[in-house]
Symmetry: C2
Subunit: 646 residues, 2 copies
């Protein structure tokens, strides 16, 4: 296997993108302080988190019982990871003090043997007694991820050392060997975290442990299902007990799984680790399996918004081509996991098809998960909703038609925060002497290469505008290296010039490679086709037959009631007619909205009868579509992605 | 209020209808013996009922614990009611012996004070301690209905007397007076049964008790919700505890409820009793409220198949115009309840709009609930299903894509049996000296009128054929009386002749009244328009926009995979083209099927991509539609009612 692409250090990249700045600045200015207050139970009107309180109790600083979910600790872990990315980009003494304080709490709660978990510490329940539901390894994984990020951001080792002790303890506890538990976590996450820990420390045993968890998964006897909690029927989550083995990806030995099944977040976290391990062990068979799983997701089970999880019950994949738009789950965390998995596959294979999905996930569902105020979040991301019906039909009781301040199970908000804070990781990839431009987010970066380094600046208003400039300056006067520019799958044509002139390049797997000697301020001009386009769904998806989805670059558009009135489902778009670009003054500046031509049923003429032989009358009209990621920022109302085609 | 219509005695009517005979003969020949064996746990492969066993234990004949649902006794009650209707029509010594044996068991299980219920008797739990969930009054109601039917069929009084003792005990237990429980049942049913008991016995207190339950319902303090089970959290059905007051129609005093809410079966059983009470007490305000509730159901919340209950969770109504086709509940029992409610309103008001809904419910969802073999049943009746997806998407886990032999909660199969056995009750109505022809099921009947009596014979192949002959013979040579013939709402034109000649008639509220002197074998010829028609749904129902439903008379048609291949949702019908009538040799003879012209996506040309800009290619084709009531009798497969219109 070739060397994989590496992200560049977040320290070395400064994002300056009119669209993304809105969200990225939210992380520092709003989300991190707000979530800190939430974890400290200081936000009125929001559900109590009790997360910091649990650590204080576990350390013996306070008295009380554990409250919140069994995996409540991960809220703090994800917050710390987000804080680390923020600190990597910019010094912030106050934030670093809070983080150090939180890390002190975590480390103080650590047992002699290295174990950390406030739920098991406070309740006194037996460790590892319920691998299916206990989330101890899942929580450990998030802690490890945070510790690696904090170490890389600050150079401080306290948290990392503490997590190495924890990982060493897990290594001693789990494994093939006699006397160890032959088990694996109900909720994968620790696997990818252990790979990160291996990469940060060079300690091979962490990699071995990750591989052990992957190889053991789903092999009979299914250790974690025979555990006490299961035998006694004393479930932590009794409502999940009939979910079956697919739910936890344990229905088959993991190496034999070729379709994405079960809980979507678990699946993509697991596949992310599998991709990591395929690379580290140069395991081509495992890599091929990862690609098969990825193809199964993206060509049969993924919403056009880059979200996954067709059903709320089990928050899970269902089957090929089952993509209901109004009862789906499409969890924000699952989209993040899909971006993580896709980005790993991109880094290993250098194939732009993976980058297309990373971009789809980030530009649509990730951002739809957070309001422009940074204080309200979606957990579930429908593609069609009618608030009056969602409020009354229990099949949609998981659907919120307004973003919520916080959740009892608060996985999504801090997950969104850590992803936004580290979005820089997705922009570039470096492979020896080649710089990969994966995303067109405007930024300035300093990129170390194998034999030199270069400054790169991306100037763009993408995807509102498809013209992108990239300024390249080698560190010494003239240097030869390659720049590989992603040509997104949606772009039907493109052009590339350097300093206004045609330039030699070749295209392979969705990247245009320019290899030349670069001098200061060489300007690459790329013209991508980000004109509006109507996309149709494979008609095996019955919900979308006869419908179109408007897109522009990676952006999916939707209709909202605030622009188009009620009964959005009655709108038919004439896809042959011109689409006019427009803006909306109540959305952030520079966002391209669309005016579509079509017709809508005239509800003033509709009779009171429920069933008649009459054809409804249509009236012509123009209909405004806005990027899906921005929906529900202008009040509650109907929303629709897949629009009927005239 | 005018005198209401009365049904004629089942003894006096002999059905001889090529379509209905199939089902009605099933009741005697298959369903009753089969269900008897089921209740005696003698059917291999079916879920154990334990119903008869519970009575044996309650009588002290056997030892053991109660098994099955808290309302398991009602299976026997509904079976006895069906058996009674069967016996009313035809002597059957063996059946009568089984019924008498069952009645002996029931009466032997009766306490000194009159109380009967095997669950409370065997478990020793405190009577009336959980009115919300205990189903004691619901069970009592079904027992009373059965006893009245058995008395009317056989003249035997043992069961009726026993139930009078039970009702007297309930009357002493519940009521406004001090010392009585100020409560009412979580599941309505006893109210309409008490009206039946009043009508059979003339004892006014039963009517008063029914009115008490109705008037008390939903008035604060909500007695049954403050009960012990609720206080202690010790629910019989913990999964229902967050259903809210609408679920049991207790969110408002019943007199203030104007929209149909909550559990659909409970709602329509309750409204049936309200209609009865409105008539008995000459309460015009209550009757108006019944009509408002009925209008809310039928013009805003009813499927075109005459089924109700848009959501599985709570088996309930949701809100106006929310009629999803593939996640609905549409319970067979709820359709029966809707027919009961509508028939009561028809009898009181003589308005054909109610008869239209009775007919819709009976000709579609009632019959869809039972297979042509009489041994398999649907509980839930979707209007669109893809078996592969229903099996995998938990939002459809209540949907069975094959009829099942029996259910743990076995309310539907015996409910279907009792309705089929008493279908004769729905055909005629008698009002003094007027015979109402409500349904066009072929039969011979002897009809007592106020001042005379007449023999009536309906000859028809309705709705396959809209030409109906009715032979009228007064008992003495010439008699004057009226015949009111229902002109269904769907029939855009009609003609009526007597003995081949035009005849004077007037039309009022959907009935054509012919008042004349009748002589032997006078022949009324009615031509109704039962040609195929395409019906469209109010576009406020977003699922059905752009779609049509094929109907013929009251029959709703559907497409099935067995005729039209997979991917039914991709079919578009050209509604301007001729519809050819056809038959299917594997369906019962005489059933009009339809060949529709249109086009379907050519799936051989569909790419593997999930999202593309390509338009799918269509190929022209003919598509066969069969009556919805007969779906799933030729193997498992996709089914679709609402078809896209070209």
């Amino acid at each position: 296997m070739e060397t994989k692409l590496h992200s560049i250090d977040l320290k070395n990249i400064k994002i300056n993108d009119s669209f993304w700045n809105t969200y990225i600045s939210l992380v520092d200015e709003v989300i991190l302080p707000f979530q800190w207050d939430l974890m400290n139970d200081k936000v009125e009107g929001a559900e109590k988190s009790h997360c910091i309180q649990n650590f204080k109790i576990a350390c013996g600083l306070e008295k009380g019982s554990h409250k919140g979910m069994v995996f409540q600790d991960t809220d703090l872990a994800k917050w710390l990871e987000a804080a680390a990315y923020s600190l990597a980009k910019k010094k912030n003494q106050k934030l670093e003090e809070l983080a150090d304080y939180a890390i002190d709490l975590i480390v103080s709660s650590q047992s002699e043997d290295g174990y950390i978990n406030t739920y098991y510490a406070i309740t006194g329940k037996q460790r590892w007694s319920n691998l299916l539901e206990g989330h101890e390894l899942y929580t450990a994984g998030h802690m490890i991820e945070a510790a690696v990020a904090y170490y890389e951001a600050t150079g401080k080792t306290k948290f990392l050392n503490s997590m190495c002790r924890f990982a060493d303890y897990i290594y001693k506890t789990f494994g093939k060997e006699d006397g160890k538990i032959h088990g694996y976590p109900g909720h994968p996450e620790v696997e990818l975290a252990l790979v990160k820990l291996y990469r940060a420390t060079g300690e091979k045993r962490y990699l071995e442990l990750a591989m052990y968890f992957v190889e053991e998964r789903g092999t009979p006897p299914c250790y974690f299902l025979s555990e006490e909690a299961v035998k006694t029927g004393n479930f932590i989550f009794p409502e999940f007990k009939d979910f079956g083995l697919e739910y936890t990806q344990t229905h088959l030995p993991l190496r034999h799984q070729k379709t994405a099944e079960g809980h979507a977040v678990r699946a993509v976290y697991l596949y992310s680790a599998m991709a990591d391990l395929a690379y580290e062990y140069n395991d081509k068979k495992l890599l091929k399996q990862c690609d098969e799983l990825w193809e199964n997701i993206t060509e049969k089970r993924m919403y056009i918004t880059g979200s996954i999880g067709s059903a709320a019950h089990g928050e899970r994949f269902t089957c090929d081509y089952d993509l209901p738009n109004d009862t789906n789950y499409s969890e924000s965390c699952a989209t993040i996991g899909l971006a993580m998995f896709s980005n790993r596959m991109l880094q290993i294979t250098k194939d732009g098809k993976y980058a297309d999905v990373v971009e789809l996930a980030l530009y649509n569902t990730l951002l739809a998960g957070v309001a422009l105020d940074g204080r309200h979040f979606f957990y579930v991301n429908p593609l069609e909703t009618v608030p009056e019906i969602a409020a009354k039909n229990p099949a949609m009781r998981h659907i919120k038609t307004k973003r919520q301040p916080w959740f009892g199970v608060a996985c999504c908000p801090p997950n969104i925060a850590r992803t936004l804070a580290s979005i820089g990781n997705y922009i570039y990839g470096v492979d020896n002497d080649c710089i990969f431009i994966n995303l067109f987010i405007a930024n300035k970066a300093k990129i170390p290469l194998k034999s030199t380094s270069a400054s790169v600046e991306i100037c763009s208003e993408y995807p509102s505008n498809g013209n992108i400039k990239i300024l390249i300056s080698p560190d010494s006067s003239v240097q030869e290296f390659a720049v590989a520019i992603r040509i997104p799958g949606f772009s039907k044509r493109f052009s590339i010039k350097v300093n206004g002139d045609d330039v030699e390049f070749y295209v392979e797997k969705g990247y245009a490679y320019i290899k030349r000697k670069w001098k200061e301020n060489d300007e690459i001009s790329i013209a991508l086709d980000t004109s509006f386009r109507f996309v149709r769904c494979n008609p095996k998806v019955r919900q979308n037959i006869g419908k179109v989805c408007l897109m522009k670059g990676p952006w999916v558009y939707c209709l909202e009631e605030v622009d188009n009135g009620k009964f959005l489902s009655s709108i038919r778009i004439d896809t042959g007619k011109e689409i006019k670009e427009t803006i909306d003054s109540s959305l952030p500046p520079g966002i391209a909205c669309a005016m579509l031509q079509g017709e809508k049923i005239d509800y003033t003429l509709v009779s009171e009868k429920l069933y008649t032989e009459d054809q409804p009358a249509y009236v012509s009209g123009n209909f405004k579509a806005v990027p899906y990621c921005l929906w529900n920022n202008r009040g509650e109302g109907e929303m629709l992605v897949w629009i009927r085609e005239k």
